[in-house]
Subunit: 182 residues, 2 copies
Amino acid sequence: MPHGEDRERDVCTSCAMIHYQNPRMIVGCIIEHEGSILLCKRAIEPRLGFWTIPAGFMEIGETAPAGAARESYEEATARVRILAPYVHFDVVHIAQAYIVYRAELLRGDDAALFAPGEESLEVKLVRPEEIPWTELAFGAVYYALKLYVEDVASGRYRTHLGSISREGGKFVLNDHLALPVG
Amino acid sequence: MPHGEDRERDVCTSCAMIHYQNPRMIVGCIIEHEGSILLCKRAIEPRLGFWTIPAGFMEIGETAPAGAARESYEEATARVRILAPYVHFDVVHIAQAYIVYRAELLRGDDAALFAPGEESLEVKLVRPEEIPWTELAFGAVYYALKLYVEDVASGRYRTHLGSISREGGKFVLNDHLALPVG
């Protein structure tokens, strides 16, 4: 425990440098297009073959919305415009913060609006009633889409805070705070 | 550059473990009480002697709102309830994401609502017109409070996205997106 700190840290036994570890941000987006949203079938582990929204670790040198747009291009060659913050879910047991925006699909340079990137087997637009609930890759994505479908049905988007835990093999949404936005 | 990656990473020359570095989250809150907000005068570097809102690095094992509440207690022995997401500013040049909530001050176990914690020289409630603009510690805090004062004056809180850069010795707010909340 370094001087002035209240918890144990990883300290180099050679040079005494403190190696801080903090939660990491996963940035992504729910991409809307003509009443549908874009889903990607994962070509990589973890959860190969399961469906997700474009999302990934935020990198140094970019903003969170820029990271979400980058992931959309990497996973689905989709150009997007970020519309609004949508979800911040902390997944405490794996030290990840899922930060998800609503975005709209833009027309790119070529005719195709989207196509599988290197990390995707397949990319498609699905209507809310077509979301493959039992084949979603991650708990945070499951709850983001569940709330999205509720919001679309009610005609009013909200911004959602909460945390995701895993209990008895199931993901649970805790401390959910939802406020209308826009 | 590890196999399958598109950028350089720190890789251990002994065991080949990849040491990913990602932006870190600073979580904090604007604490409201009877038309005033709580400010802390910093007792530590950086920016010793300057004023800020309670905020600090999010830790592994906590949610972002819980981290903001923890910082409020550590810096001002203030018990708070998180009300709504308020600001997400990416400070790209230092790889930090400032995530700020609006919160309300709660009555604790003792009579005092707040007092300086170990990292603060002084803690006080200020009305919007009393905010010491030229003595604020950080660019992200300056813009969070500027927008807060605007929102209070207009009678409608918004949620704010943006990034902070430093240009010619001055902090600049870029890509500001503001949406009414609640």
